[in-house]
């Protein structure tokens, strides 16, 4: 099966977005992950099912590469510091201050979610994958996708509400 460069390249922006969501906005790390996944996909192109869903296949490879990288890092005792990674990537504040701050807080809260919740919120909420397709990419049952979605959303909401209430040890809004 010949490699169809154009059909793969059509998915690269999506792969980069997914990688950024997984890498908590760290763009360099995300692009490393995409490059690594492309290398793997191209060297395994002959194993792809011709009638299969190319996007799902690529996303699956990327997610698996991400997990094994995480696994290796954990074994080596590397812990990426959240703040370092995302603070530099947060959008510049413009327009209404309150709204912009809330937007930053939401992105910060999103980055703080466990990776499996980030992955599913991204695939379903942003990339519009069906629940079934997201389940295949992540290698989990659909019910798990649904539970992760509702848990992730609830956690974001709690974070944002705690932020409004302030006090009681809730995450504070950084300025």
């Amino acid at each position: 099966m010949a490699i169809e460069a154009a059909s793969i390249e059509a998915h690269i922006p999506g792969l980069r977005r997914f990688a950024r969501a997984l890498a908590r906005g760290d763009r360099d790390r995300a692009d490393d992950l995409v490059q690594d996944s492309l290398e793997r996909a191209l060297s395994r192109w002959h194993l792809r099912r011709a009638e299969g869903d190319l996007r799902g296949w690529l996303y699956t490879i990327l997610y698996n590469r991400f997990l094994s990288e995480q696994h290796r890092q954990k074994r080596r005792g590397v812990h990426d510091t959240l703040t370092e990674a995302i603070e530099s990537e947060l959008p510049q504040i413009k327009g209404g201050q309150d709204e912009a701050l809330e937007h930053r807080d939401l992105l910060r809260a999103f980055a703080a979610l466990p990776e499996e919740q980030r992955a599913v919120l991204h695939l379903v909420g942003i990339e519009d994958l069906s629940y079934e397709a997201a389940a295949r990419v992540l290698g989990v049952p659909i019910g798990t996708v649904m539970s992760r979605l509702s848990r992730g959303r609830e956690r974001l909401r709690q974070f944002m509400n705690a932020d409004l209430d302030a006090g009681d040890g809730a995450p504070r809004r950084g300025k």
């Binding site: 922006p13 792809r48 099912r49 299969g52 699956t60 959008p91 959303r153």
Partner: protein, 280 residues
Amino acid sequence: MSAARGDVDEHELTALVDGRLPAERAASIDAYLAAHPEELARLQQYERQRHALRQAAAADIGEPVPARLRVARVLAGQRRRRYWQLGAAAAAVVLLAAGGVVGWAARDWGSGAPPSGHRAQLAATERAITADALAAHQVFSVEVRHPVEVGAAQEAHLVQWLSKRLGHPLVVPDLTSAGFQLMGGRLLPSESGPAAQFMYQNGDNRLTLYERSDTVGDTAFRYSEEHGVGMFYWSDQDFGYALAAQTDRQKLMQLAELVYRQLSGDGAKPRPPPPPGKAS
């Protein structure tokens, strides 16, 4: 969060946020939300968050793709590496011939000088994994009453449990298209930590997939046959895999490819119904 509320469950509310609620459920959900304004407020907040995250992602759309992520560039890099590997392999052949050493003998070099530290280590790992996999196959595939520790009926639990023990998310390949049904799996000890064995059945024929984390390089399929058991071994990232059955090499190869494809991330797993009239 997933507790049922009357006949409305959390998954349906999730589907509503994603605009994927089946139309026939809309009336019931509307009624539920009309009676529970706090729930409505919660879902509206989810929707706003979803929208805000989409907007943040949309800001990246249209950004140019860096050269290193272009397919042509990645392919060129791979060709270059293959060329060097071929060169190295050719050089190795020359050296082996010059030294009058039969390369195959390198497999069984135990006490002698290893060919190279890394390669020798990989070969030793491979021998250890295939030996353990063969032993596990021989012991458990003939077991009548307790062939597996956790049966296929509890597949989700099996996967979760073994993934946790092996410290890596495992995938149980679906081999129904080749006529093999999952029986279940078990946890096994090994010198390099916990290992997993999954067992499949097609009539009387049993197939086992053994896997564990170890220091392995990426290797291609390698076939061996011992005591009438055929085995394909390969490794991928940090895992070594061995697929064993009493079947011919050709059939086992097809199964190994099927397993490999699913493990390496082809998300689209076929789940065709079993062929009609097939005894199992």
